[in-house]
Symmetry: C2
Subunit: 718 residues, 2 copies
């Protein structure tokens, strides 16, 4: 029995094509055990047969896991660890999943694997796999166990297509070596931020009310979902490290180790957010100054103890000198010195420190027009390029401000060629509807990842994050998952989690094709009376939902305009006179932030050509970013031909209309899909419509009151 939570993109029905075949899993080790467990369970459920070979002797002291409760069902085959070496009879094999270096598989599978092996012209690496059809058998070959796992889930995604007579050989390797989710989960419930900071999906799957969860079933399910979309690293606590959470590094390390044990069979390494002040608050030292020998020793010793407990520990995540967190500035050191301190301690283990570039003055004076929060990350970090150790990953938010529905790409990304950069996305929908609004973010991330921050033929954002042969910093995101029945509060927000993993694996994927994968897996055709209606409706509701959200919220890239604190719903002036550096400067004549070199904050100068001139120019700047870079009159005519103020009115009316249509479309699925999913989404669409209407009315009223310009189409503005 699986726990009573939604299966997300791994319902049993998604394994129908695989599970009805005859499958041989060849290889040894815990992750191969996971692969075999998945296969055995699928075959048990769909009438296929599963064999295992090559798993003797065990590759480590650990016995092969059979922790997946499904394997204790009643497999119709000899598919447990004791049957190593058993060969399927005759040529009765449809699929072989074989790990290189495990010797040839037994029986008829050997020929197919040998044939497939000839196709393989280059190393597959730690995580890659080959998919080929040879001698009438579909073959997945991998050089390392994780590759076999990813190959398995690839076969699941393909469904029956994996067994088509003609299947061109495919080599798959992840574009990014690190595909990581950060959990902003607190161990102790924070008085303001709760159990999960910026969490919109219930509690934490790791922690509950000050303690680690004893029942880790849910964590295992989560690991399985993540492996199926390609995630291979998870940081298990909030980057704002409070007192209780600081102790995860030392006295509460056992809690982290227990989570690592659950994630490991799915190829996922555990990372930990630590406080830069740890030598003081945990070690009792008088300082955390990186130049002090005792501080370095403390980190070395502490890290050594971590590896004694968690040999494959991934590394540290640090938010330093940011929004009140301690950092090297306290000791007159810069961020290279700070990051290198932790990197030095991690280096012996091949691990990394993720050092966040989210450093800015959050006590800015709103009267001070010279200070520009958008400039901060570049100003702090670009001068440090080349000074970070090799195992420092500088983790840069994709935009210069803070995960808004629309921002330019951060200029930091192109500014530090001698630094390993990770690009950080936000799967949790802090500023994009908090999982009460449908907002499929795949298209937005895809735009960001494909963006070329320098000359047109230069590397894209994804290429920079990938680094040479995948050795860059990778892609990181804040998770949107919690202990909610549907994992993500809004069931359709699962697609964002799925898409993150897939785009981290391959940023060139079409985000709508990824959505299609998610639909096919999550709503398998066999579970509905009208698969085509389901697919069409979900696309209709989700494909354009990010742009819909953009339409009814802050216009033209200006950002924020959200209610302070919780960040849900509109408040045009909510942050206008605050210390947070997020302003729009609307007055009776116009709106927007002048970030030009000519007359503004000079932020445009942080970009490489051609963007430093494109953004500088009011005429060439893309419409959707106009107010991010320029303060313009309400009558300014956009490339679209509309004035700024009419654009605001039009998009806000249109956005709400689109939500109304989404809601109508969704009604078509009543009785066609799982009623629990349908009800939850229906309830959230009602709230989305209410909230979108509030956005529309507040924004339109605000700008009408300020500009005095009536709507050209005479619609009602309050």
């Amino acid at each position: 029995m699986r726990p009573a939570v939604h299966a997300a993109w791994l319902p049993p029905e998604a394994f129908g094509a695989l599970g009805s075949r005859r499958v041989l899993v060849h290889g040894a080790g815990p992750i191969v055990d996971t692969v075999f467990d998945e296969v055995a369970t699928a075959c048990a459920g769909h009438g296929g047969r599963a064999w295992r070979s090559g798993s003797n002797p065990p590759t480590s002291g650990n016995p092969p896991t059979s922790g997946n409760p499904a394997t204790s069902g009643n497999p119709p085959t000899s598919g447990d660890a004791s049957s190593v070496g058993d060969a399927p009879a005759g040529d009765a094999v449809d699929l072989v999943l074989a790990l290189g270096g495990s010797g040839p598989p037994p029986g008829p599978a050997a020929k197919a694997v040998a044939a497939a092996g000839e196709i393989q012209s280059a190393a597959l690496g730690d995580e890659g796999f080959l998919l080929a059809r040879a001698a009438g058998v579909t073959v997945v070959l991998a050089d390392a166990p994780a590759g076999l796992l990813y190959g398995l889930f690839h076969v699941v995604r393909l469904g029956t297509a994996a067994f088509d007579a003609v299947l061109a050989p495919q080599r798959h390797r992840p574009a990014m070596r690190l595909r990581m989710l950060d959990h902003w989960d607190n161990v102790a419930v924070h008085p303001v931020m709760g159990q999960v900071e910026r969490g919109y999906a219930g509690g934490s799957i790791f922690w509950h009310d000050g303690e680690a969860r004893r029942d880790r079933t849910r964590i295992r399910e989560y690991a399985r979902l993540l492996a199926a979309c390609g995630v291979n690293a998870v940081s298990v606590n909030n980057v704002n490290v409070h007192a209780t959470e600081a102790k995860l590094l030392t006295e509460r390390l056992g809690d982290v180790a227990a989570i690592a044990d659950v994630l490991r069979p799915y190829g996922i390494r555990v990372h930990l957010s630590v406080t830069f002040a740890a030598p003081v608050v945990l070690g009792g030292l008088p300082t955390a100054d990186p130049s002090h020998e005792r501080v370095r020793d403390w980190w070395a010793t502490t890290t050594e103890k971590v590896y004694e407990r968690i040999p494959d520990f991934g590394g540290y995540v640090v938010k330093a000198d940011s929004e009140g967190q301690p950092g090297p500035f306290t000791y007159g050191r810069d961020h290279a010195e700070g990051a290198n301190l932790l990197a030095e301690a991690l280096a012996p283990y091949g691990a990394v420190v993720h050092w966040r570039a989210f450093v800015y003055n959050h006590r800015q004076d709103w009267r001070d027009r010279a200070t520009d929060r958008a400039r901060a990350a570049y100003d702090h970090f670009a001068p440090l390029d080349g000074r970070f150790r090799e195992n420092v990953i500088l983790q840069v938010k994709f935009g210069p401000v803070d995960f808004q529905v629309r921002e330019p790409v951060s200029p930091v990304i192109a500014a530090m060629p001698a630094t390993r950069l990770a690009v950080e996305l936000q799967v949790t929908q802090e500023y994009t509807g908090q999982q009460r609004h449908v907002c499929y973010l795949g298209p937005w991330w895809s735009e960001v990842l494909r963006f070329t921050p320098g000359e047109p033929c230069g590397p894209a954002v994804a290429d920079i994050a990938a680094g040479g042969s995948g050795a860059g910093g990778g892609l990181v995101a804040v998770s949107n998952a919690g202990d909610d029945l549907f994992w993500t509060g809004h069931p359709l927000a699962q697609a964002n989690l799925y898409a993150f993993g897939r785009l981290a694996w391959d940023p060139r994927l079409d985000p709508l094709a990824v959505l299609d994968e998610w639909i096919e897996l999550t709503f398998p055709p066999s579970t509905t009376t009208d698969p085509e209606l389901v697919r069409r409706t979900l696309h209709a509701v989700m494909d354009d939902s990010w742009r819909t959200y953009e339409r009814y919220s802050a216009p033209l890239g200006v950002g924020f305009m959200v209610r302070p604190g919780h960040h849900y719903g509109p408040d045009v002036d909510g942050y206008e006179y605050t210390p947070w550096g997020t302003y729009h400067f609307a007055d009776r004549d116009g709106v927007g932030v002048d970030r030009t070199r000519a007359t503004g904050t000079g932020f445009t100068g942080q970009y490489l050509p051609p963007w430093n001139t494109v953004y500088e120019s009011r005429e060439r700047c893309p419409d959707e970013l106009l107010l991010f870079f320029h303060h313009v009159p309400y009558g300014h005519v956009l490339h679209s031909g509309s004035t700024v103020v009419q654009h605001i009115y039009d998009t806000h009316f249109a956005g709400v209309e689109q939500v109304e249509v989404m809601r109508q479309r969704w009604r078509l699925l009543d009785g066609v899909i799982d009623p629990a999913v349908h009800d939850r989404v229906t309830e959230r669409l009602d709230e989305q419509l209410r909230s979108a209407t509030e956005w529309r009315d507040q924004l339109n009223t605000y700008f009408f009151r300020k500009s005095g310009v009536p709507d050209a189409r005479g619609r009602r503005i309050h």
Copy 2:
């Protein structure tokens, strides 16, 4: 030893004139014991002598209290209860405090008392007293013990003047029978509102973290301070009655009784906020419908039990159908039916229910221009006039909205001649600087109390609250006291607590004369090297501080513009698009709320002549209320000759300048007064200046951005 808190307006030095005299206290009972304890302590400290007579036999089963720790000092006289009947020798008496009905005092005092008694031409009532000089002796006569206590504190206030050779006989009776403080204290710390809702003076003196405080020393000190300014009733818990607090009526009643025991010797009765849903949540009944026999029975039985424990219990306070609190509307009953239900239960004991008129729709749609929160109390309650039982007191906030720095007087006050009305003020500075800003509210309350809501010769607000011969609803206020060292956070905020009591006793008092009393008592001349500098400086800082606060905050009566939730500091649009009904409707052309009958919400029609026409007229409406009643263009010229927008600029610049001057003046007291007081005020003045500057800059910038009108004097607007 007194507890280590600030003595407020009762430092030992304030008793110098009294304490250096020969004083006889004549009468029996616990409150007379209190009087004697005060006298004895004063004489012990200042070289006088105290005698007691008439206290045998005790008037009740209770032994005379000697709980005041001061009496255990070492009284130089025979002044304890055992010396009843002892006469001072010869004519050695300067002051006699004598209770009528206790027979003649012994010795030479008898003659003076008899002479004074002849002056007394009318009954003094429960709380009145006569002060006269007869036969060379100052005499205080009272018909009831509380009167003697108030007479004592009057003598303290007079200081040496009480012993002047010529002292015209004075009869003192309180204008209001009920002079009450409501504590918005929670027993259990509320997750949002904390221990004290809208409290700015630390924790509660009654409750701590879910429990009643065991040490009641502080409560006794508080009672003494309140008696000294004339307060005679205290409600001990928040009108928002949460789960724990509901139980004070039943299983936690002992906590209330314990407080009552401490307040009683100071003539103060205890009241309790109760939830209208008590029959359901405490009694387990299926309904709280007032028409149900069982509900009435439950209240009768429950109230009977209250009186078994607290024979002088004052009554209930109820916030019903307001901001989420339950009420009669739940059962299709009106507020007369609701209030009468509780009044019926209290009637046998001569007690009252305070039923708050603060009922409005707090889920208003900001788009709905027809709904006007200012109308709500009148619309709900005026039609019910005459339907309330005699022991219902309808408790009406002084203004129609919510304790703003400037509002018109609530039209409800003049609209219900057949109802006992209490007028509610807010001593706790929720909207007037939260005890971080100096804001002496006496002048504001005085304006309200002297306001004549009908024809010029009709009754003033204070007369209505007083009712015929003081039998009205009285004056009620939310207390500003907590467990802070200085009682009120800001030491100068003590003056508001003092002034509330004094104005409730006599609303015709000049608020600046009341301030002078407070200064004289709190900073006794004997405690400083330069009494005149102290007096002059405190007046300079405090006299106009309410108008200063008004100048730099929301202009011209429009109200709010505070940060939502905590209500501290500016946020011009903070409530503009919320459900709370508090809007200013500023656009590029003008600002203000049209509440006229001609074109607005019709609120002006709730006033009697002449105010219904004065407020209706844009020309006749007083400047300070213009934006409360009218939406006017920025160029509208005020009676002052300034335009609205220039008025905003001018007052905001002026307000900050005045705070700067306050701060400079305050520095003059460095080394002249108690350094702890000086430091605390200094620290708060720094914050006041910061905050006032923030108000100035946000308001000016907001209106400059909106209006486009530059400051006529060319000052910097950001």
